[in-house]
């Protein structure tokens, strides 16, 4: 088959005309869109202190863990030392109430995901 034949066949595609109510239908949808309030964005500003606290806690935990390992580079950290690191981390987490922060963040995340999913589902209907 020649290129010219292919070009000729694919170029003479028959155009279709949009249905008579198409413009009205689009404008109705646009009108609805214009009156719908914009979606609520994720409250990053409010979540920021929590995220920062978790990051700091993780950083402290890592620094403490590396500190223990660095003190005895050749030897493997003993069970007691690891237990001490874990206890320090837990104490720190308790102090900054990391559990509650993590729970709040998880609930927020689930709420946002759920509402996005529900909105998308109702939009597709």
């Amino acid at each position: 088959m020649r290129d010219q034949e292919l070009d000729a066949i694919l170029s003479r595609e028959q155009d279709i005309a949009p249905s008579s109510g198409f413009v009205a239908s689009v404008m109705e949808a646009v009108g609805q869109q214009a009156t719908t309030p914009p979606p609520i964005p994720f409250p990053w500003l409010r979540a920021l202190p929590g995220i920062a606290a978790i990051a700091v806690a993780l950083g402290v935990l890592l620094v403490t863990a590396f500190g223990v390992i660095a003190r005895e580079p050749t030897a493997q950290p003993t069970f007691l030392e690891l237990q001490a690191v874990l206890a320090t981390a837990l104490e720190l987490a308790k102090t900054i109430r990391a559990g509650w922060l993590a729970l709040a963040l998880a609930i927020s995340f689930v709420c946002v995901k759920l509402s996005t999913h529900l909105a998308a589902t109702s939009e597709n209907r």
Partner: protein, 189 residues
């Protein structure tokens, strides 16, 4: 249909005059519905996809940076939507290998002379892998203009040329047995 009219309507819509959007819809409904139809070959679905494209256009009007014409931006937005939509819910297509190759091309040639060869070619286009099909559809929709097709697809012209060449090569290979005097090996310019 002028770029100035488009720009004027866009400014009005951004300023809050929603009714000005109707001018844009009236001017571009034909091209957008037809482009969608070339992607899905279903009139009802084409109108649904075009409507969604107009809605997205409305939502993103403030994002048009005037670096390109409104039409180029509109086609890029619509193409992106149509490609995603077709990847999400593919059109009813047949695999390229499902187009049966005749055992004796000369015998089949007579049969296909009586049949609609255009339909066979379009079916073969539809059976191409998505990235080649999209390049082929956009190239012929934009009247053989690679630059326009590339702008709509948001790809470099070289990439579109390569996909077009490969796509047409696949089409020639698949369709040659159905047509007389096969001519292989020519690359798309």
């Amino acid at each position: 249909m002028t770029a100035a009219d488009d720009q004027a309507d866009v400014e009005k819509v951004i300023a809050g005059d929603i009714s000005a959007f109707e001018g844009l819809v009236r001017r571009w409904q034909g091209p957008l519905v037809n482009l969608a139809y070339r992607f899905c070959r279903d009139r009802g679905r084409a109108e649904e996809m075009a409507q969604e494209a107009f809605l997205r256009t409305y939502r993103s009007l403030s994002g048009w940076r005037r670096e390109s014409t409104f039409s180029t931006w509109l086609f890029a937005l619509a193409t992106n939507l149509y490609c995603s939509e077709l990847r999400r819910i593919p059109a009813r297509t047949s695999a390229l290998d499902d187009i049966v190759e005749p055992r004796d091309p000369r015998a089949m040639d007579e049969t296909y002379e009586a049949e609609d060869r255009d339909r066979l070619v379009h079916r073969a286009v539809f059976a191409l892998p998505a990235k080649y099909r999209e390049a082929v559809i956009l190239f012929y929709f934009h009247d053989l203009d690679v630059a326009e097709a590339a702008a709509s697809l948001g790809l470099p012209q070289g990439t579109v040329k390569a996909r077009l060449s490969r796509g047409r090569d696949m089409l020639r290979r698949k369709l040659s047995p159905h047509f007389a005097a096969p001519e292989l090996g020519r690359e798309a310019s």
